[in-house]
């Protein structure tokens, strides 16, 4: 089959690779209908995440049709149209049973690679380096999906392929980030980043009853989409974000701040120059401008919800969180806990993830798609691939 392979930093190529097969009794094989780019892939493409290997098939956000079923699969069947969260979860362990699916205790084929870094291995994930399991990704004609009974969700009528696609990753991640904020009546939520994840966090915060949602980014098309979703847009290159948030919240500060930016955060001024030099020298992988700003902006006793992916960061202003009594919540997405609810919101038109699909490419053109996505050319919010 054809698949998009990582060959090194900024070197992606579509190649012919072996077709996947059923390896374990709870596996299915999916014929991919759509897959998409995620901000997390940029960390891999930029070489900020170690343990990638030449030939790794990329892609962890996808939906498709089941074409082959392992002998122990009972809840889904051949021919069904399903969406699959990006973390592989067994549904049987203590973590899965406590809705902490991305922390699943049984799906990492190489726990010895990750345990020294984190203390305990996490769930395996598709196409996110060998330290995260080395599972082949979904920018391909077919993908093997383990634990199909837990990880495949039937897409109901009335939810398009494009809407279902983002319920694999961007939507559950954004929804989880809003859920972390424990939103009460009157709450103002500020979201840094208007990529797929940030936009979904904004829409989710509204679904969960936020009084007002403020969206921060620099790209006009992304800010316009945030505004179309009902958020108040702020361009961080044009206004002083802290002052603007102060003004918008009557001096209280947002009740919760969501970071949907991550380690490639852009910034302004000296701090940005300092962060960039250190990142270039691999002294630290993260620039962190957005996260620092969110920590300063959040009201006393408020919540900081971190969705952006980070590696190492020094000069982390921990005292700021402590003195302000901030609650920090963060995780890789526990998608399986949210997907059924998100499919219902999509069916009722309350969640509109298909708006993220600004550009479509054939699988053969996927390297061009990644280039556009990375550089945000032509207002590209997410590139969608059709195998």
């Amino acid at each position: 089959m054809r698949a998009l392979c990582w060959n090194g930093v900024n070197d992606l190529r579509v190649e012919t690779v072996s077709d996947p097969e059923i390896l374990n009794p709870n596996d299915v094989i999916l014929k991919v209908r759509l897959s998409t780019t995620c901000g997390s892939d940029l960390h891999l493409i930029d070489g900020l995440i170690p343990t990638m290997r030449e030939g790794d098939v990329l892609g962890h956000e996808f939906m498709g049709e089941i074409v082959d079923v392992g002998r122990d699969v009972t809840k889904v069947a051949k021919g069904e149209r399903v969406v699959v969260p990006s973390f592989i979860s067994c549904g049987k362990c203590w973590y899965c049973q406590h809705d902490l699916y991305s922390l699943c205790d049984t799906t990492h084929p190489k726990p010895e690679l990750q345990e020294p870094l984190l203390g305990y291995p996490t769930a395996g994930i598709y196409a996110y380096s060998h330290a995260f399991g080395g599972y082949a990704g979904a920018h391909a004609e077919y993908v093997r999906v383990p634990f199909a009974d837990t990880d495949c969700f039937k897409v109901p009528d009335g939810v398009s392929d494009e809407a279902a696609l983002f319920i694999s990753d961007a939507a559950p991640t954004g929804f989880m980030g809003a859920d972390f904020c424990d939103i009460q009546g009157g709450d103002v939520i500020a979201v840094w980043g208007c990529g797929g994840v940030g936009l979904m966090a904004q829409q989710s915060a509204m679904i969960l009853g936020a009084e007002r949602v403020i969206a921060i980014d620099r790209y006009p098309e992304r800010l316009a989409q945030a505004e179309a979703f009902g958020a108040i847009p702020l361009d961080y290159t044009k206004v002083d974000v802290i002052e603007a948030l102060n003004e918008l919240t009557g001096g209280r500060g947002p009740d919760a701040c969501i970071d949907a930016v991550g380690m490639e955060a852009g910034g302004t001024g000296l701090q940005q120059a300092y962060d960039r030099v250190k990142q270039a020298l691999y002294l630290e992988t993260d620039r962190g401008a957005a996260l620092r700003q969110a920590m300063l902006a959040v009201r006393k006793g408020g919540t900081l919800s971190i969705l952006g992916v980070y590696g190492l960061m020094d000069k982390f202003p921990l005292g700021l969180l402590m003195n302000k009594g901030v609650t920090v919540r963060t995780a890789q997405q526990h998608g399986q806990a949210y997907v059924p609810r998100l499919l219902e919101h999509a069916q009722r038109g309350e969640l509109t993830p298909a708006a993220l699909a600004t550009h479509r490419f054939s699988l053969e053109e996927s390297p061009t798609g990644y280039h556009m996505f990375k550089h945000k050319d032509d207002g590209c919010l997410r590139a969608v691939f059709v195998p």
Binding site: P25, N26, E54, G55, D105, T106, T107, E112, Y135, G137
Partner: protein
């Protein structure tokens, strides 16, 4: 203990613990099934059942080294299983697995301890050089796989489909 002795000790004794959400008798029965042993140690050795609670082990080292031994269960109690190599082992070793109740709804704790006696004595040859695997990985990975098997009936794998191409065969 001198530093050198402490290092040698750390290199030959490998202990690890894991918690599994199942009752001890069920886990003990699964552990004692011969095919379980073959499946959970495959990152380290080929284990072939041979006779009543005994097994033949073959571990490979760097540069083609091959080591063989035979183990048999020496103690088997409700909360404990012990095994040991029999005479003629290339790398004599003893293993002990203890079952303890975990608090709350967490199931059972498994404490596994394997001690190797490499040829030439404890400081004769470092285990990691002998087997080409860090000693702590030998037991930790086995326990991880055992938990996966106990909870899900399968062991996570990407072989023979690693994400990366294998020796060019995926070209």
């Amino acid at each position: 203990m001198s530093t050198a002795e402490a290092e040698a000790e750390a290199d030959v004794a490998t202990a690890a613990s894991i918690t599994i959400g199942k009752p001890a008798p069920e886990l003990r029965a699964l552990w004692l099934q011969p095919e379980t042993q073959s499946r959970i140690w495959s990152h380290f050795a080929e284990v072939t059942p041979s006779g009543e609670q005994a097994a033949e082990w073959t571990a490979h080292g760097p540069a083609g080294g091959e080591y063989r031994w035979r183990t048999a269960v020496t103690d088997s109690e409700p909360d404990l299983v012990r095994w040991a190599t029999q005479d003629g082992a290339d790398v004599p070793n003893v293993g002990e697995l203890k079952f303890r109740p975990a608090p709350g709804d967490r199931g059972t704790e498994l404490h596994l301890d394997v001690r190797f006696d490499p040829p030439g004595g404890a400081i004769g040859q470092a285990l990691s050089k002998l087997f080409h695997i860090a000693p702590r990985e030998i037991v930790r990975t086995a326990l991880y796989r055992f938990r996966a098997l106990a909870l899900t009936g399968e062991i996570p794998t990407t072989d023979p489909q690693p994400a990366a191409r294998k020796g060019g065969e995926d070209r």
